[in-house]
Symmetry: C2
Subunit: 332 residues, 2 copies
Amino acid sequence: MAEIRRDPITGRWIIASTDNPMGPEDFPVEEHRVPSTPCPFCPGNERMTPPEVAARRTNGGQANGPGWTLRVVPNKFPALRIEGNLNRLGQGLYDMMNGVGAHEVIIETPDHQKNLADFETVEMVPVLELYQERCRDLQKDKRFRYLLIFKNFGESAGASLSHPHTQLIALPIVPKRVLEELRRADLYFSQKERCVFCDMIHQELSEGERVILETSQMVCFAPFASRFPFELWILPKNHSADFTQIGPESLRDLAEILKQVLHRVQTVLHNPSYNFILHTSPLEATPHEGYHWHLEIMPRLTRVAGFEWGSGFYICPTPPELAASFLRGEKK
Amino acid sequence: MAEIRRDPITGRWIIASTDNPMGPEDFPVEEHRVPSTPCPFCPGNERMTPPEVAARRTNGGQANGPGWTLRVVPNKFPALRIEGNLNRLGQGLYDMMNGVGAHEVIIETPDHQKNLADFETVEMVPVLELYQERCRDLQKDKRFRYLLIFKNFGESAGASLSHPHTQLIALPIVPKRVLEELRRADLYFSQKERCVFCDMIHQELSEGERVILETSQMVCFAPFASRFPFELWILPKNHSADFTQIGPESLRDLAEILKQVLHRVQTVLHNPSYNFILHTSPLEATPHEGYHWHLEIMPRLTRVAGFEWGSGFYICPTPPELAASFLRGEKK
């Protein structure tokens, strides 16, 4: 019989199909077709993007020319624009504001063909440092309430360009998904004086069956109430609310575990499309003591359908315990 | 500049791309490939499904044999099963229960090739009557808290079989998406003694720019804070919380507007995949005075990506005013 499970962070329920669970070979293998059109993220094509806002050029070279190892540019088709004041407006029953925000693209390598899963730790560290650097810069803008870092890898994950890149959107509102986490985390903290994420990490490390990898600072597990098959979360083992505040040692550890986890996903699941999102504390004067930053990795192996859209429930055909045993390499 | 808009029912924010809006021809046209394997929903293959729970056989014929015009069967691979008691269990931090529920399939025609968008009103009415009949039957089961009717049409909407069918899942929990609507609708009602849906319908009919169709009892509009391009809602114009309670006249009107709306979606958007979901009042002794049943139609023209998963915000590339003008046939 299936199990109905609740995520303690968001209160979201999911249905884990324990009857006929699906393994890695039960999902269709996706072919990633690299389009042959000139790629705006490739060296030599710098003029195809808006002027860069940051870059790494260890061997010198002019801004907006080749020679970079990492490059950050505004999105050419931004969801939100940086210019203007935030105007709030009511229209009868409806609330709206103009689309002020920022939308940046972090180009993670000059090599079009390279996969983040094949990065060395020393290559991954500067990528994560750049995520932090861009957040610290955008934090200064008082119009923004939240910074969301996310990656779309592969067509099924919504990527329109295959050159390795991650996106950053600065929002004038704390988004709903983060608010849901914050509300329950705040409530838990007020009741117990403990962080619900810390308690979850403690339970996961004690039980072990959903843990995939552990480094000195970080842990990766398949969450108890996974929405998606092979969904994975990476969290710092010690309490930490704000990703932008973590030091070089934690960042190196994060680079190490992220690279290893992505490599396992690539190998075990045959290079699937995936999204990852980084949830960190909102840009507020008073920090949320009970919040804990984390990275959610969601391989796109199934389609979300009417039941999920209508209910907010998810049907997960691979229980997380089984996903973890495949990703640990115990089950083949 | 884009507009950030809030849905007054759920509080959900969306970003409407008003800068470079996408029209019907800007989305890839999906080919629906009908698989050649024997279809378990076709007449003559009745033994390929579990035994039927309801059917319409106007010209006679044995149960689980051919001759039916409509047929309801349990899902062969149910998300939840009808057998057993609901056992609630705590496991450290985590909450769970066993997967008790019901999962039925309503087969809407014996004709494998037929599209719901091509139904006549007289063919659509018995389909909707059967939705009501199944709900009324499942309502008697005290283990259930919510009945969700939903359709997945086409591969991109998660359909695994192309024969016209709709699904019904009975849940032991009121799902999150419905709770979100209920909470705000209850709050609105307690503040104003009015239904927020009724107020929304009033505003939409006065402004008119997002309205697609209207019958004597029903209205269809593109919601102000559409998550998806060409998202459409159908609602009864007069206050009504419970779909299962509506009478023959309303049901006939719903059949008429649904058929017309699906036909316009099919024509204008080139037969896209879509989901529809029916939100009605939960199975509670005390009805929610401020709730209003409705049908949400979501054509699957774009992919949901990392930003949406991470934020709960949606980027809608076609503002609803533009979608409505295309669907009204004013803009081509």
